[in-house]
Symmetry: C2
Subunit: 387 residues, 2 copies
């Protein structure tokens, strides 16, 4: 994997990541295909909306259909019909976020399956092996993610273990042609972030991820820590902020030199009828859209907006029609991939800050009550449309 | 609307229906787009799988989003982005099948909404008007459908009222450029079928539908009555068997001179993972498909089979991934539209009977236990994915 830094504008950067058979333009947003499909979308949809790389979840794929089966099929890309690059996570975050964690010690993470309650131990070595089986282009090592806020002792232990596991992951890497990233932990403690970044970069990886954010802290705290941590990372490797994908967060993070992002937010809120527009997120089942004979966003060139009115989308959501999920997911992902490509162009023109201000000035942030409502809807749907 | 009979082979017929701006090749299967979308599919999918005409349900569209709204948007085709022909039903069958019927007398059908319990009266005149608002190419008059078996008195009354309503429907027709069909009732009583066909054809319509079948009678009874009724209808108008769509039923019905069909079966069973193959319906979550590194049907050229293995589909269904519904629906509808086009070609070559025998010899009929299981699954999903 070769990373080329092509332009900078303040701290923001544009560049490219050369994987075995594809070039990824950065900054880049990676749609999440948890269980071998970006929910409701097919590979053609992903190509059409300019997805350059997608993310797969090792935890989910390990449990179902199993990494050995996917290996037999020639890897995750072949299995799901996607021939672009794939990044897979380590499964550590799912153990944490799904509340399935049974035990963690310096050996690894033990969790119970959300499918059948069976117990599984993920060690750094196994996790690298699983991702090799999945045929990932970018492999993430097992790290230890803790919720925020948290006590200093726990945060210290998370850093210590993450470093130990990072070394073991690198040792476990075969000479297959993929990239292995390092992950920086440390919660909201800058001294720990600095320490973690130092330890991880000293080991040396193909890229560096900032983990353990977007797990309960405020947005301003998240921005502050992402900014601080980005500065502790070398310029010549890609920087990946894990689990971040709201438009305002992408702007703030690109502004401090982050290159890569992933998040279920655009597709998850899409399935609840929450759609991105340049003025903020709208709720498509709201009364004003019922009769609106125009696309959701007048100048959007996604498949959804070029073919369907807000009224039709509103009807599909009210009627709980399956097509609603796909059309909304296409729009939201297109909105984000388009945003990233505009940011990249703005960086190259030295106009990133102007573009950021212009966007954020007209974009109303989703207020907390809507966020909570969306989260609630997601929890209700969770059993059915997992993740 | 102009119907041309182009070839016959025994009693089977191939022809064409010329609507205002499109020619439909018969025999034809019409996918059902109950609420303004063929479940999980977009208009491009429909074009790709060779759907020539789709069906919309007046009952559902009247309740939500409302026929006036659709009229304001230029009709159902414009509203949903489908620019091919559309047939709409009268809503009478839904009043019957959804158990929402409150009252029926010679004036019309009163039912309660499945959405909010509100009461609505459908008269023959209103129903024609609603379908004009929807911009249908083929309008169906309000008829009175009764379950089978049923007593002679009820069957007689159904015929009488259907004839009365047919006359009122024709009187209500404006001079807009669409076709109005007549519907023959009479249950399983041949004398009543004959009487109904005589009365309806004397009034005179652009085409004739056989209603009141596939509502509880055995398959052999259904074939017998369809065959008998087809013979009571004029040769020079299209004949439409309502609510029929299983492969074996399509063969038996085309064999006796039926030209048009609609049914939710191909898409409904698809959403339950039941997929058509030349050997019969398979259950994709069955164990043998988990590791099958081939498409469901080797020589199928649908999008699903040309891009995905049975194993991947099986995984999507096990994981309840939204993409599963669309990929399975594409395959099943393609299977049926392809079947119809093969039948048409066979009729033109005078080889319909050979083709029918060849197909049915290798096609295992779905046995009753699987049918009941599928029905149960559908009932469970019904609240969510209505119809």
């Amino acid at each position: 994997m070769i990373f080329k830094l092509e332009a900078t504008d303040g701290r923001s950067r544009s560049g490219s990541i050369q994987t075995e058979n594809r070039t990824i333009d950065t900054p880049v947003f990676m749609p999440v295909g948890t269980q071998g499909s970006v929910k409701s979308l097919d590979p053609n949809d992903l190509i059409e909306l300019n997805a350059q790389i997608i993310l797969g979840n090792t935890y989910h794929l390990y449990l179902r259909p199993g990494v050995d089966l996917i290996k037999d099929f020639g890897g995750l890309g072949k299995f799901m019909g996607w021939d672009g690059p794939i990044l897979t996570d380590s499964g550590g975050f799912q153990g944490f976020s799904l509340g399935r964690l049974m035990k963690t010690d310096q050996d690894g993470i033990e969790f119970t399956s959300h499918i059948d309650g069976s117990r599984h131990l993920f060690t750094p070595e196994k996790v690298v092996d699983y991702q090799e089986s999945l045929g990932s282009d970018i492999v993430m090592p097992l790290d230890w993610c803790v919720e925020l806020p948290n006590d200093l002792e726990t945060l210290k232990l998370a850093v210590e273990r993450t470093t130990l596991w990072a070394k073991r992951s690198l040792n476990a890497k075969s000479n297959k042609n993929y990239a292995l990233f390092g992950i920086v932990q440390g919660g909201t403690e800058k001294s720990l972030r600095e320490l973690s970044a130092k330890q991880i970069t000293e080991i040396g990886f193909d890229g560096y991820a900032i983990g353990g954010l977007s797990v309960g802290e405020t947005k301003s705290k998240m921005y502050d820590i992402a900014s601080f941590t980005a500065d502790c990372l070398p310029d010549d490797k890609p920087r990946y902020l894990m689990g971040v994908g709201a438009p305002e967060d992408l702007f703030e993070s690109v502004a401090v030199g982050i290159d890569m992002f992933d998040c279920v937010l655009p597709t998850r809120v899409a399935r609840n009828g929450s759609l991105f527009t340049s003025k903020g997120r709208i709720n498509i089942v709201g009364k004003r859209f019922r009769t609106m004979n125009e696309p959701i966003e007048a100048d959007c060139d996604c498949y959804t907006c070029t073919n369907f009115t807000a009224s039709y989308l509103s009807h599909l959501f009210r009627a709980k029609e399956l097509l609603s999920y796909r059309l909304a997911s296409i729009h939201n992902l297109h909105f984000i991939t388009n945003l990233m490509s505009n940011m990249r162009a703005a960086i190259q023109l030295g106009e990133f800050n102007d573009y950021k201000n212009r966007f954020l000035n007209q974009y109303s942030l989703t207020d907390e009550s809507i966020r909570i409502d969306q989260k609630q809807k997601w929890l209700e749907m969770k059993n059915e449309h997992f993740s």
